[in-house]
């Protein structure tokens, strides 16, 4: 099983690599970072929503199984959120020469979410092991997923009084078929990478839990 997952990881990474290279050739504004950054960002969102969904299932059914699934989803989601911030920063540097630009809505929203979900782990580990340790972070995860659109809207509103010139991402070109195809494959690559990481982490955590019980 781990072998299959490792293969999936390699597939994701390899595909992404190959298509980034092609993206470069297409002559994008800042090279092919667009094909890396945006799929990673979307995957991060997907993972966080997945984590929140599992959290909801936990609260609904009180089935402990969902706790690890939610936690792992959010953990991998946080990793991808961090990668989103880093690749976004590199993109900003490549395109505008600065490491950070507050006018970039997507990035600022991700920063807020990153802070929020980092606190998730502090919350979780401050609670003694038990039912509460599963339930309370689950509620927090639900707040997080609601925060995603709210903070996106808020950051958008903030543009009006913060900066007279909102940022327009140079890399969002006319979506011709070719570009869409390249993007699609990179997105698929990022998702499969995330899925593989999720599955591996989850298996490891479950194994750990069973070991704890066996002792």
């Amino acid at each position: 099983m781990p072998l299959a997952l490792a293969a999936l990881v390699l597939l994701g990474v390899g595909l992404g690599l190959a298509l980034l290279w092609i993206g470069e050739l297409e002559g994008f504004a800042a090279g092919g970072i667009f094909f890396l950054h945006v799929p990673v960002a979307l995957t991060a969102y997907a993972l966080l929503v997945w984590g929140a969904w599992k959290a909801l299932r936990l609260l609904w059914t009180r089935d402990e199984r969902y706790d690890l699934e939610s936690y792992t989803g959010i953990h991998v989601g946080l990793i991808f959120a961090l990668l989103t911030l880093v690749t976004g920063s590199i993109w900003a540097r490549a395109e505008w020469g600065v490491w950070w630009d507050w006018r970039d809505r997507q990035l600022v929203t991700f920063l807020i979410l990153f802070l929020f979900y980092s606190a998730y782990f502090m919350l979780r580990y401050s609670i003694e092991p038990g039912a509460a340790r599963a339930r309370i972070p689950a509620v927090y995860a639900l707040f997080g997923v609601v925060l995603i659109p709210v903070s996106f809207l808020a950051v958008r509103l903030a543009d009006q009084f913060l900066h007279r010139t909102p940022l327009i991402r140079g890399g969002r070109p006319d979506i011709e078929g070719q570009v869409l195809a390249v993007f699609g494959v990179c997105f698929a690559g990022a998702l499969s990478l995330a899925a593989a990481m999720y599955a591996i982490e989850l298996a490891g955590k479950r194994l750990d839990a069973r070991l704890q019980e066996a002792r």
Partner: protein, 211 residues
């Protein structure tokens, strides 16, 4: 409507405790004034318009101060377990707590806003409206997060970490209402924030508090 009566009873208990002990609200008022003084020196001469924005930072931090102490008395006297066992809807606890913190915050702001108007710049109706709306949202979310924070070992130390990311949209809404020519849009946003998060907090509080 025993639900509302329960929440009101809980809120009244907190208010009476505060009237007797007089710990939280004076601390909040002093804190706000101290923050204003710090702001005065933080703002260089040319940027005096930034004061509007700083008002909101002050409000959020003051709300945080009030919230940090929100469930501490319950925790210390193990009252929370008893409350949870009591025959009332658990979320009434949340509502009662949110209402009492809201009351504290309003009192502190009643002192702070005139001072701000005197120290920095006048406070218009839109700002007052925004403050009221923001308070509701901050207390609704904060009361739930305070219960979460108290459930763990880190307790009050954790609350700022949990609270501030969620407070950012409120700051944006508030600053927008204070600073721009189109406050209605931001007031609408604050109302939306309040509605969404109050409903969410009301619905999920039970899961935070039960064993």
């Amino acid at each position: 409507m025993t639900y509302l009566r329960d929440a009101a009873a809980l809120a009244r208990k907190d208010l009476l405790l505060e009237l007797r002990g007089k710990e939280t609200v004076p601390a909040m008022v002093l804190f706000v004034v101290a923050v204003f003084v710090a702001f005065r020196f933080a703002l260089p001469q040319e940027q005096e318009q930034a004061a509007g924005g700083l008002l909101w930072v002050a409000i959020v931090l003051t709300a945080l101060l009030g919230l940090v102490r929100a469930f501490v008395p319950e925790r210390e006297q193990r009252v929370l377990d008893a409350l949870v066992l009591a025959p009332c809807d658990r979320s009434a606890i949340w509502l009662g707590k949110a209402l009492s913190v809201l009351a504290f915050l309003l009192v502190a702001e009643a002192a702070a806003l005139p001072l701000f108007a005197a120290f920095f710049e006048p406070v218009d109706a839109a700002t007052v409206g925004a403050v009221l709306l923001a308070d509701v949202g901050l207390c609704a979310v904060g009361a739930l997060l305070a219960a979460m924070a108290v459930a763990g070992r880190a307790r009050e130390v954790l609350l700022p970490l949990l609270f501030l990311p969620l407070a950012v949209p409120v700051v944006i809404g508030g600053v927008g209402a204070t600073v721009t020519d189109d406050p209605a849009r931001y007031l609408g946003f604050l109302a939306l924030y309040d509605a969404i998060f109050a409903i969410l907090a009301w619905a999920t509080f039970e899961y935070v508090v039960t064993e």
